[in-house]
Symmetry: C2
Subunit: 200 residues, 2 copies
DNA sequence: TTTTTCTACTAACGATTGTTTGTGTTTTAT
DNA sequence: ATAAAACACAAACAATCGTTAGTAGAAAAA
């Protein structure tokens, strides 16, 4: 083989291809026979490498969750104003996604197909992550960096919506690279689109 | 029956319930037997009212698309600055979604399960809608209302991401009503979170 | 060389999928 | 009263689902 994924373990190859398939068709609509075909093997052969279809989804979702957590923890350590912290949080989030756009899309759109108790665990991680962003935002409101006129939940959920849809439209071969993307996105969300805003 | 949906035609009742089910479980994971059970009938009985599972999805997706289109056309007629037009476009979009949060969620998340040629038609409508927002944004850049430092595609896609995820987290019983939500969302996206921005 | 690990196969399982057919009852329109 | 439309049913269909069992050749480790 000459693929870039050729020196991954076979199990990792399966998971990668599954991520692509889940992203394209959705977890529920993607069959194990579809996946097998993409890999050039029979469906039953998949089970030499993975235990179940859902195990793949679990691995994709929780691995991404760990990356996001790690990134945010770095930012929280920084001793900078809240607006800067928020900015860095946004950039970090974008960079984690950019490292694996496919897995990011699955993480975002397909996690609901996890069964209990994994779904509950996943949602707890997610709430925790969101709340830590909310804390940063609240700090900024307290210090007068952010406006008080915007509902906190709205602000944070809008933030996440913007971030989380990126894997759906971002083309890694495009003119704008992930770092610039994170930069501009942070600027847009913190300072807005208006030209008259004071620079960040 | 004493439901609020009792005086709808039976077909509309089926479609409404299907929207809830599709939103909760996803189109592919939602079975016709699930749907029938929610309505208290047998799966086969559904076919007295609808022709197929996908017909329901089509009806949900294209009806919403028509509403969005109608809303934007109203805004385009207005003779106001681009920033104001963008603002009104955002508010209109939010209001259309708020009228039917369930159908909005399906529109956004499940349209990919449309088969051809419906999928192609749907995506064309969507591209057209996005491009019309992009035109408004470009007008604002040209008149100096918006900054030139932000990638146009990024700006518009971020806008849509923010808007389109709203049905996933917005609680219609919450303290903030749809109009205020549209207002604040428009403010946040146009002027940003920073307190130092000039007021819109 | 022997043993273990990895990888893949064929065949089949029980369950579930969307849907059709044919029938019957109840409500509405004429 | 009669015809028609609306609504629901049981039974079944072919197809597809995730998965298991058992087998076997090839590569790696001992």
């Amino acid at each position: 083989m000459s693929d870039a994924i050729a020196n991954l373990s076979r199990k990792e190859q399966v998971i990668r291809k599954a991520a692509e398939l889940f992203k394209d068709k959705g977890y529920a609509a993607a069959s194990m026979r579809d996946l097998a075909q993409l890999l050039g093997i029979e469906a039953a052969s998949l089970y030499s490498h993975i235990k179940s279809k859902e195990e793949i989804l679990r691995s994709l979702c929780f691995d991404m969750a760990a990356e996001f957590r790690k990134s945010l923890e770095e930012v929280e350590k920084q001793n900078v104003p809240a607006s800067e912290k928020l900015r860095n949080g946004i950039i970090g989030h974008i960079q984690v996604m950019a490292k694996d756009l496919t897995a990011s899309a699955v993480f975002m759109n397909e996690h609901r197909h996890l069964s209990e108790p994994y779904l509950r665990d996943f949602l707890l991680l997610r709430i925790n992550y969101i709340n830590r962003f909310k804390t940063i935002f609240e700090e900024g409101v307290r210090t007068g960096e952010f406006k008080t006129t915007i509902d906190k939940k709205l602000a944070v959920m809008t933030l996440f919506s913007s971030l989380n849809w990126m894997p759906m439209w971002y083309d890694p071969d495009s003119s704008i690279d992930p770092t610039a993307l994170g930069d501009q996105l942070a600027d847009m969300l913190v300072n807005g689109l208006k030209a008259t805003s004071t620079a960040g």
